[in-house]
């Protein structure tokens, strides 16, 4: 297996109530990622998806992440909260903010929301990247008490057309969704944590340029090494493996 060092763009930290997860705190998560050959990772607070106001989780993460130099905090923004721009100012004072993350379906707003105009403007002004999470689990096997659909590709495509100047990264797309969005949305990039099929990466690259495909493990909800193996065992040139494994993320997030 090729041990390309990886930059992981899809990691969460915190408690997930529907499964026994192996890494719930930052020290354990940091150690797990290190053992899997991940040199840097973008981490969002998992519990924030269940809170109307994710600010408290963001602040906890920002306060506790400093000893872990491998990890970069990615705050979660709920556009329904009226003070999200004030909070972003605070986050920027606390850290060299690389990105923020949206969970539209967990926080019950659309990517067509007018509040996105404020957020996009803020991110462009301050050179911060936008990550849009599409799903956290396979909808077929959600706990019956929590049924949340994946974000519709139509919304993502419309968002990409409305804001053509902003490049954004989606996490959690299935392979058919990637293939649908790739030609329709030139400013969209994606991780491959939910994409699956034999000979996966060569197939994705038939529709999506390699500079728009990122490594994301979806740790701790998924087994880190499994998604790492997806890239490391792929039958692709080493230069492409490096590009997907870390170079794209380093360029996109300025790491």
């Amino acid at each position: 297996m090729k041990q390309t060092p990886l930059v992981d763009v899809n990691v969460s930290c915190g408690h997930w109530p529907f499964a026994r997860l192996p890494a719930r705190d930052l020290p354990t998560l940091d150690s797990l990622l290190g053992k899997s050959g991940i040199k840097q990772a973008l981490v969002s607070p998992l519990e924030a998806v269940f809170l109307p106001d994710p600010d408290v989780c963001n602040r906890e993460l920002l306060d506790s992440i400093h000893p872990h130099q491998r990890l970069f905090a990615v705050p979660t923004i709920n556009l329904a909260m009226p003070d999200f721009l004030e909070n972003l100012d605070y986050y920027r004072q606390k850290a060299d903010l690389k990105a923020v993350k949206l969970y539209p379906n967990f926080h019950n707003y659309s990517l067509r929301s007018r509040r996105l105009e404020k957020l996009v403007s803020y991110l462009e002004t301050n050179d911060i990247r936008l990550i849009i999470n599409v799903r956290l689990v396979d909808e077929r096997h959600q706990y019956f008490g929590l049924k949340i659909k994946g974000l519709a590709t139509r919304q993502i495509a419309d968002f990409g057309h409305k804001y053509p100047s902003i490049e954004f990264l989606c996490t959690g797309l299935y392979l058919p969704e990637i293939e649908e969005l790739a030609p329709a949305c030139p400013n969209f990039s994606t991780d491959m944590s939910f994409a699956d099929w034999h000979n996966l990466i060569p197939r994705i690259l038939e529709s999506l340029p390699a500079d728009r495909l990122f490594f994301g493990s979806h740790t701790p909800l998924m087994v880190t090494e499994a998604n790492a193996a997806k890239l490391r065992m792929a039958d692709i040139p080493e230069s492409t493996r490096r590009q997907i494994g870390h170079e794209n993320a380093e360029r996109f997030f300025g790491l």
Binding site: D138, H198, L221, V223, E225, A226, N227, A229, K230, M233
Partner: protein, 254 residues
């Protein structure tokens, strides 16, 4: 690590059937450490209830793989129990002569249906395992899909037949618990994204010796399927048992 993949469809919807494609797949798989692959057939090619001619065509394709690469592929005979005892005996006997080592069942009928009896008796006589597609039942799935409770009942009814309950992620936590206490029932790890915790849960509740590595190729990517086991929080011996040793013993391969 040495690996036997108990659950693959090398030809799927007629894709992957040329010799060149097969050789490419074998080369790729061997590069990942996969020594043998159980070919279950292109089982959805003709829908959920194929007739005798369609069953024969699917098994012909599997037999072609065995002829091309007998060192790599292990064939399971795809059957439709609804076709009756005479038809299934005829098909199974022919394929056993060709070296098939097990039976594959999909969604023609439920594992608890009476039509299973002659098939299971044939499996017992031939001393071959039966791999049953299994998925946790919901309102959306028809009754012909076997729930883990159905497949577990099948294994209890026929304690002398080794039954493989396919799709760990499809039957999940409840399915693992349904499978407890049935020594002739194995579970395979096929058809899933690599969600954390389920392999560890299955090892804790069933023991590693009852778990078989499977991918469901081509629906799943082989690297992540292997990584899901190798990256789980279980011992190295347990990983090797799941990835290789259990299947080797079950199928009597070298």
């Amino acid at each position: 690590m040495r690996i036997i993949d108990i659950h693959t469809h090398p030809v799927f919807n007629n894709e992957g059937s040329s010799k060149e494609q097969v050789e490419r797949l074998v080369g790729y798989a061997k590069n990942l450490g996969i020594e043998r692959m159980v070919a279950l057939g292109d089982v959805l090619l003709y829908g959920p209830t194929p007739d005798a001619a369609q069953i024969a065509a699917i098994n012909d394709t599997t037999e072609k793989l065995l002829r091309w690469r007998p060192d790599f592929f292990i064939g399971f005979c795809y059957l439709n129990p609804l076709l009756g005892e005479t038809a299934l005996r005829q098909e199974l006997d022919q394929r056993l002569e060709s070296g098939f080592k097990g039976i594959k069942l999909e969604i023609a009928n439920n594992a608890r249906d009476r039509v299973m009896t002659p098939l299971m008796k044939a499996a017992e006589n031939a001393k071959i395992p039966v791999l049953q597609h299994t998925w946790a039942q919901s309102k959306r799935l028809p009754k012909s899909h076997s729930d883990p409770a159905d497949t577990s009942l099948l294994a209890r009814r026929f304690p002398n037949v080794q039954v493989i309950m396919a799709h760990l992620f499809g039957f999940g936590i409840r399915g693992v618990l349904e499978a407890k206490g049935i020594p002739n029932l194995y579970v395979d790890t096929s058809s899933c994204l690599p969600f954390s915790g389920l392999v560890e849960f299955a090892v804790e509740k069933l023991g590693a010796e009852r778990i078989l590595y499977g991918s469901d190729l081509p629906i799943r990517e082989l690297g992540q399927c292997i990584g899901r086991i190798s990256g789980s929080d279980i011992t190295e011996d347990q990983k090797q048992a799941i990835l290789f040793e259990n299947a080797r013993q079950l199928l009597y391969t070298e």
